[in-house]
């Protein structure tokens, strides 16, 4: 039970950076929270009403105002700056792709299109519902779109989330580090079938992946 009260196991190359930022913010916020709460509890106890005591008339303190304004501003701007490169790496740039797909969302399935053996998305390309097979340790790139409403491609084990928007093609990439099967739920409300909409991501060795792909083409 207890091991489930934290993140799911991470299998992506950028996951550790996301988790690191989460933990950084976690500790900043926990320390801030603890400091504020300790101050509050101490004040609440120390300055509770007792007969005969009068509050001290204090209107404020400009130096303190300047201090906490600057301190908060510095921490927040630093945090934004620190997060910039990770975001740029995941959503803006990223490494060149080695395997290419098209993923099309629809109520309430993921359509995964694999290129034909020549690498083209022509008529011979293979489309499978909800089953995404990828080779391990390869940069996977795919074009994400939707046929009807907005969906969101979410792989908790990779910390990856990207909305699929009808009328738009969005480029997504990831690299999986560990073989296994993982779930691809839809994270954006997409109608009465939203709950339960899910695909399976199978990460496997290059050989297994090629074999699976060959079987799929043969069965087509």
């Amino acid at each position: 039970m207890l091991e489930h009260l934290w993140f799911p196991h991470d299998i992506s190359t950028f996951g550790p950076q996301v988790d690191w930022l989460f933990l950084l913010i976690f500790w900043i916020t926990v320390i801030t929270w603890a400091a504020v709460m300790i101050a509050m509890v101490v004040f609440l106890f120390q300055y509770r009403h007792r007969p005969g005591r009068k509050a001290e008339y204090i209107e404020g303190n400009s130096r303190l105002e300047i201090f906490w304004t600057t301190a908060t501003a510095v921490i927040m701007i630093a945090l934004a700056t620190l997060s910039k490169s990770t975001w740029a790496e995941i959503k803006e740039n990223g490494p060149p792709g080695q395997v290419f797909y098209k993923v099309t969302a629809k109520q309430f399935n993921w359509e995964i299109t694999y290129p034909d053996p020549d690498g083209n998305f022509g008529p011979k390309a293979l489309t499978v519902e909800n089953e995404m097979h990828v080779p391990v340790n390869k940069v996977v790139r795919f074009d994400l779109t939707s046929k009807d409403v907005i969906h969101s491609f979410f792989v908790p084990n990779m910390r990856l989330k990207q909305d699929a928007v009808p009328g738009r093609t969005i480029h997504v990439w990831f690299e999986a580090k560990e073989p296994g099967t993982y779930e691809i739920p839809c994270a954006e409300l997409c109608g009465f079938g939203h709950s339960g909409m899910q695909g399976t991501l199978t990460v496997e060795s290059e050989a297994d992946f090629q074999k699976w792909l060959k079987d799929q083409y043969a069965n087509q």
């Binding site: 009260l5 913010i25 404020g60 303190l64 975001w87 959503k91 908790p156 909305d163 779930e183 994270a187």
Partner: protein, 583 residues
Amino acid sequence: MSSTAAVAVHGAHGEHHELSFWRTYIFSEDHKMIGRQFLFVALFMMSIGGLMAMLMRLDLAWPDTQFSFLKILPQSLQQDSAITANTYNAEFTMHATIMIFFVVMPILVGCFGNFLIPLMIGARDMAFPKLNMLSFWVSAVAGVIMMSSFWVPGGPAAAGWTSYAPLSAVPLYTGVDWGQNLWCISIIVLGVGSLMGSINYITTIINMRTKGMTFFRLPLVIWSLFITAILLLLALPVLTTALALLLFDRMAGTHFFLPAGGGEPLLWQHLFWFFGHPEVYIMILPGMGIASELIATFSRKPIFGYRAMAYAMAAIAFLSWIVWGHHMFQSGMDPALGQGFMLTTMVIAVPSAIKTFNWLGTLYKGDIHYTSAMLNALSFVAMFVIGGLSGIFMACTPVDMYIHDTYFIVAHIHYVLFGGSLFAVFGGIVYWFPKMFGRMMNETLAKVHFWITFVAFNCTFFPMHILGMGGHMRRIYNPTQYDFLKPLEPVNMFISISAFVLGAAQFLLLANMIWSYYKGEKATENPWHANTLEWSAPSPPGHGNWPGPVPVVYRGPYEYSSPESAEDYLPQWQPVEHATAAD
């Protein structure tokens, strides 16, 4: 000179002829009665919105289970005594819609705004009393339209309170036809009502302050309502426009948000959140104002950094216009734009921090009285701190990629909106009840209500952070459909049981209000020994608010424990030369 004018105005308000029942209680132009009307309607709507929440929690703890008692609900909320995927979508949509548009906004802005503004600035009524009445009745019509959608075929709106297009724009995608249309129409109508209210508030605060009431002698709650009214005035037209476009897409065959006809789904999100983020602050700023009043009064100390508090609210209001993109980091909006929105969003933490530290500073060396109103205000601060800090996680774009659309977000908004706004509302009700109804609320019952609510609230919403970290998506009616969420089901069960306690505890508040209304101890003019002007009027104030001339203001609102006075308070209306001779 000014007092004779005031008496003349007072006379014009009808002291000499009794108003009929209808003009006094139903179509009243009196700001205090309109405030009470908003309060009653909002509390009624809170019970409906709360019921929606209870149904959701029932389903999440025991998904796909039949409960025979659900049979009494309309078909749109249960099918064969069970909550289904369809009805669940309607339930969370209506929960959020009702709580945001028909509970938190009407209580904070409609009730406290109406009741407090004239009394606290020293005016006999609002600038436009007839517009004020119209504002309430237009809002009431919006409420009736929204409620009627429970009984139309297809049920009420089920596309979330955010109503993302194309899901909301094509009836086929949700299976909801008139429910969504009525949703749009209701909120357009409500927007008209809110606009009337905000114009009235702005005009009243600028023009009708009593002699001596300068802007920097205004109580912070009035500052907060003033800034809120400006936000409403600027934000609502954007929402109204977006809703009209959505309605055209649904009913007139246009394609503003539908890519098939050249439309753009993200346009809806930009318009919605351009309204939606100021809206978030519309719902928290008055809470901040109320908390400031209560904390200063019961710490018997001036608010720490009064001007910084006012400026921080203005800064929040300004920044709220340039952060809307943080709702859209994963939407397909250019990720480079996300970088900019991340920076502005991080910066909005600064004024929030200023406010928090100033509340702490107010407690420092105070003389703290633990009334139930104070407990609620302190809880506002503590919960707002958690809600504010958890917001930093989603401001950080890479972290947001993981927690976006998960229960982490649900936890965050409830810490701000329930932990923040609603605790301020509870505190405000206990604090101003004597002025509103002339009787004190039962203090013991109010404290019992507070403690149960406080504990149950945290047991309900804190574990949602953990669900979010586990990847638990929002808006799914059956988490057991996913293998990775199955181990989290005990957490869902715990949350549901806490939520039932939380829901049940609210009847204590209702019972206390009803009991105190009839049997409560009669209130004196100034039961809390507070400084602001409303406490110079009778409890409850009659038509025209003050039987004599309107009081004149001599000082700021927070002169508690001032060396100028022997008492630990020095009201705004007390002339200096009599200050030490008071009582």
